[in-house]
Symmetry: C2
Subunit: 555 residues, 2 copies
């Protein structure tokens, strides 16, 4: 081990131990502050300058087997980034990555974990720079890009490092074994147990959360001794290029081969994810995106362990509520945040057709619909505030679905276009809310990704719970919520959530939203329904990224 690696190990041992405690105890914890002011005024200036310096030129990343430079990201805010990135000749890059692995394997779980925590700390120090990159590739408003793209993504990375460490150290590294033989001398052996990586991990990034959805797989695979090739979404390369560069620098500083991590940017129409996913060197795959490609990966990469997060139909059941205003405000925020372009945004809102009891008063189905629409309108009435919440639509699919949704059921709230004075060409859209009926299954059993929510009239809360159980079992969901003042209804919904395998939020009326999950405490997705085959993060997410190989001999 180099002196620098030793330094990292000593410096970050405490953070690792605290993270190990956090994943067990699941109380609130984070080492990475989420408020920009914690990073100081200077960071805001230098971070912006660092981001600006990337624009219009080749990204500073030197990798083996680079055969040309590719790029072409256009910000949802209308800016052409003009950055180019190395495109790999895989027959050169992948062997170079494999060659880097034995030293990393032999370093062991402690060194790997602490070197990666050093890298996360360096990423944290560059949060502002990364925030601008996330903002201009995903279309997230800057405030959200800062939190979700920076500290919250770093949290998820550290969480994965902690789980990987816990799984690899679930048994001692060496043991003495002594088996009694009656009157004869005991049989005695020493045994060594070594965590070995599977091979090269492939992380396929998404457009909407380039860092948040990539860091868990990236750090989990690295922490378990694998090399990782990162294939970003063609329109969200920069945040992951910065990430790869920071990791390569950190690995080099610690005396490891930087080729343990590489970026694989693609040419238009190249389908590089498919090419990489079926390479024999690739033995672990992490993917966030469409159900179609997720299922393709699950079926067509048998040489790899495949972790996917796909589409789902997130569901809310409204039965009754004490704090009606709190519920309306909470849901309005959830519908609006990042224009509903989160895998966690609620889509299907079941409401009894005879209405609900709210704060002791009766509210008809139409009352609730109108009040929800009014809440969204109020929340987004001011354009500055609307822009700060909505961000920008990141692809034309969202706009097309909004158009299509106009003719679905009865429009309770039409989507309007908000002006962004800084970026006049950005498409900023408020949520569309439509009222439909529980018989309109064709509509609400599909995912309408974007700011589109359906208020679904049901006969009773019981029938809503049954439909929830069935639709989530069949079509999947990342999130679910229930509002009820009746413990029996809550218990029934919890039972249905266990059956359907979806995480449930109960009576959210304050500053916690169903579309948010906190690392070290909330599991993101469950892996128990079709929306995802894994969760961020748990033991199942890390334990099969490595294998244990033993050597035994007599003492």
């Amino acid at each position: 081990m180099t002196a620098t690696a030793e330094q990292f190990t000593a410096r970050h041992r405490e953070t690792l131990d605290r993270a190990l405690e956090a994943i067990r105890e699941r109380a609130f914890w984070t080492p990475y502050p989420e408020m920009p002011k914690a990073y100081g005024e200077e960071a805001a200036t230098t971070g912006k300058a660092s981001y600006d310096a990337y624009l219009g030129g080749p990204f500073p990343l030197v990798q083996p087997g680079t055969d040309e430079l590719v790029g072409g990201e256009t910000s949802p805010y209308g800016v052409e980034l003009g950055v180019t990135y190395p495109h790999p000749d895989l027959d050169v890059l992948l062997p170079a990555m494999r060659a880097a692995m034995p030293q990393w394997r032999d370093a062991g779980p402690d060194v790997r974990a602490t070197v990666l925590i050093e890298a996360l700390g360096r990423l944290n120090a560059r949060t502002t720079e990364i925030a601008h990159a996330v903002h201009h590739t995903s279309g997230q408003a800057f405030g959200m890009a800062f939190q979700a793209g920076g500290p919250h993504a770093q949290d998820r990375g550290l969480e994965a490092v902690a789980y990987a460490y816990a799984a690899q150290t679930a048994q001692v590294a060496a043991a003495e074994w002594e088996k009694p033989q009656g009157p004869k001398p005991a049989l005695r052996m020493t045994k060594r147990f070594t965590a070995v990586p599977r091979g090269i991990g492939l992380v396929i990034g998404c457009n909407t959360f380039p860092t948040w959805n990539s860091y868990p797989g990236l750090f989990a695979s690295l922490a378990t001794g694998n090399a990782v090739v990162v294939k970003p979404h063609p329109n969200a390369i920069l945040p992951l290029a910065i990430t790869v560069a920071v990791l390569r620098d950190t690995l080099s500083a610690a005396g490891f081969d930087p080729n343990l991590v590489a970026l694989a940017a693609e040419k238009p129409g190249e389908s590089l994810a498919k090419v990489l996913a079926t390479r024999p060197e690739v033995r672990v795959i992490d993917y966030t995106g469409s159900t179609e490609f997720g299922e393709w990966l699950e079926r067509n990469a048998p040489q790899a362990v495949v972790y996917t997060e796909k589409a789902g139909i997130n569901t809310v059941i409204i039965d009754s509520v004490e704090d009606y205003k709190g519920m309306l405000g909470n849901l309005a925020f959830s519908f609006s945040l990042y224009s509903g372009q989160m895998c966690t945004t609620p889509q299907n809102i079941f409401i009894p057709r005879d209405g609900i009891t709210a704060g002791g008063e009766h509210k008809s189905f139409d009352d609730v619909a109108t009040d929800l629409a009014t809440s969204v309108d109020k929340l987004l009435g001011d354009d500055t505030r609307a822009n700060a919440l909505l961000g920008a639509v990141c692809n034309t699919g969202v706009s097309e679905r909004l158009k299509k949704a106009e003719s679905v059921g009865k429009t309770v709230l039409a989507s309007r276009t908000v002006t962004n004075s800084d970026y006049p060409t950005a498409e900023v859209r408020t949520p569309l809310i439509a009222a439909i009926d529980t018989t309109d299954t064709d509509i609400y059993t599909a995912e309408w990704f974007g700011p589109i929510s359906f208020l679904i009239a049901t006969d009773t809360t019981d029938s809503a719970i049954n439909t929830f159980r069935e639709t989530v079992t069949t079509h999947g969901a990342i999130t679910a919520a229930v509002y009820s003042t009746d413990d029996t209804v809550i218990a029934k919904t919890e039972e249905a959530a266990l059956d359907a395998g979806v995480n449930l939020s109960v009576n959210l009326t304050g500053g916690v939203y169903v579309n948010q999950s906190a690392a070290f405490s909330d599991f993101h997705a469950t892996g128990a329904n079709p929306a995802a085959n894994s969760a961020l993060s748990d033991l199942a997410y890390v334990a099969n990224r490595f294998r244990v190989v033993q050597s035994r001999r007599h003492i």
Copy 2:
């Protein structure tokens, strides 16, 4: 929880805790004695009587959806068992099994683990009876059937229960989460985390080790809340029928639905394993057997998590040795045990063509070959002892391969047929040893399941290590061994074993054999090479058999 379940939980907590310590510390431990005398004279008599009572009639097992009785096991010792078993109508049986699951899920990991430890204790008490059933279905000699089919299988079952418990309790069951909000009141929530099962587990048993290879998957799936349908090999049903009956009785006694476990015996030509493996209710599959069907399962059951143990080419490298006689005796025993019908039996023995140094003397390649042949001959010279070691050939494939091997390379030791005076029709065969060359890759890169070993002449030990690394990486292996007095050679072989992902035994010359692995200490297989995609047992073997579902609400 019933009073009986409470009793089980209190009674077995200590065993569970001790098992949890054992899987971490990996020193010697077992709660199930392996010597028949520990079970007493009476157990021997009553166990035999219980076994005899099954013969020639319907097995006492009442399950939902039984549409006819099937059977037809013939012992490799020539006895027709004449036992019949329930054949399932899956459209009745599987729904009944699913209906049993919510109560089992809600009981939680502690109750599930201790109820299963109770079942293991009951199986342990019936070891003699199970030993006769294993003996007469696998063809294992009685002594081996007793140990491997009884206590060693029970050990592996308990080990899986311990891992399952550890994985499910990796986080608290409930947490309070409090996030500071600067000057505003903190956000406070309670969160509950529930382990939920995947669905119905399918365990596909094998002919040679009906209990040992089935118990890990069976107990791991049950301990994580799943129901399990056991599909035995058509010629090794009885040991698993007894197991299923004991589990059903134990579950009933504890107040659970016995349909959490069911036997699925098949009609000739029905391919019931394929039918079951593709049922949507089946979400976990455990399989031991051919590479062909294992790969079919890995590719054709995308709705399930699939754990397979397949074929491999187990390898020994002989470089040099201090205790030459010890090595010869150790290898002779390994070749002979259960006629080489173990997935762990060494097949490819690499020896430098210029010979080796043994106890300070030079031994030519031919010397080693002759001495190995002599050792096997001596070990099996007495027919009673030979029968006790060899058992009987369990299917005609083994006999056919022995015939084919006669014309491979230079026969160093021919296989002879041993008379079994108790069972004159049993086919009992001693090992065949053939000398070939390292250029004969077509021969030694295939698995020759049975008592067939190749002594492969190599240019140098280094080239043997390289061939070992390459062939195991490509074709897989469950075991590997090296003999060397040179630390550099051992280190190089260990490095190759890490690269190829196979467990290594170094310089075995005494009472530990390469084909044996001890539960709680040795991992069986690694999951890191094509011979198996998982190991018995580790966290990866259990962590994806369940998922965690959370529910959160404000305090």
